[in-house]
Symmetry: C2
Amino acid sequence: MTKVVAIMSMSLDGYVADTNDGVAEVFDWYFSGDVEVLTASASSGMTFRVSAPSADHLRSLVAEIGAMLTGRRTFDNAGQWAGDHHDGVPIFVLTRSAPDEPPPGSARYVTDVGDCVAQATAAAGDRDVLLHGAATAQACLRAGLLDEMELQVVPVLLGQGRRLFEDMPPDHVELQLVRVLDGPGVQHLRYRVRKAG
Amino acid sequence: MTKVVAIMSMSLDGYVADTNDGVAEVFDWYFSGDVEVLTASASSGMTFRVSAPSADHLRSLVAEIGAMLTGRRTFDNAGQWAGDHHDGVPIFVLTRSAPDEPPPGSARYVTDVGDCVAQATAAAGDRDVLLHGAATAQACLRAGLLDEMELQVVPVLLGQGRRLFEDMPPDHVELQLVRVLDGPGVQHLRYRVRKAG
């Protein structure tokens, strides 16, 4: 059964980007290893060099992806992945208002969070929907549409910036830690969202 | 050599207490296990029931403590530990202004962070100074006086409350994850602060 899984790198103090939307610190582990991993398509040219355990882990994550769901900010900051996150997997971009010009490649804009998750889930087949973007992860959490989180926790305190969990309602969200991988320079933590009812 | 080690339970989204200074959620793992642990003295009556791995871990932590350093808010919220955190270990309470009435038992008030750390370090002998309190941990981090952090990360999102890392300067603090223990309901993570220079 398809799961909706948020995947984000964050600092120990909860930031996914610094005050200038910079991600150099929280993505440092993506560039400090010995093993080359292509987590996006050759056309978008995103190649990373990570540690061996992180490389195995990223490869298994990519194999699980049936569709991408991303916030507009993340999508634009990533150069829209040149329309191809990897292998032409469909990309659903949650945005407040869709531009007149359609996005490149396999991407499409969707303005409603429920619609966006439904379309991505249908497109994912028997694989998972992987989700990028702090605001989008929060919107899905609030709507009860997030099944799991794959957090890549980096041993640094940024002090200020853009938080993964910000402006959340005071309702507590119970989680279950279901997988831990300690790579050098990053902890890969998989949490299941334990929904009420 | 004596280390100054902040030890705090926090939610995955970085809160050490809810909006009412409540700690039921982040301390849940302290009361949901099968093994009784006395982490404070019999006189203060603080007994916990934790899982077997967390119990072993807490016992080893307590054995390392030569002195306690705590913020005034934490000290007061904990009923001043009846003046005895455990075994009469000296307690140094960082406060903006010391009340006329002295604190109970082995506790004393100190108004300067540098003085407080120096006194606690001297009192700790060849053991460590364990530190409680978000504001106090931040003050020591800012002053370059914090050596390590022992974080007990609980799988819950509180959404709102009192954050461990709040109002921090934008200077990045590089850390090193040096020990991981995955207990049920809590991850015990030991980070070393990698000071610049």
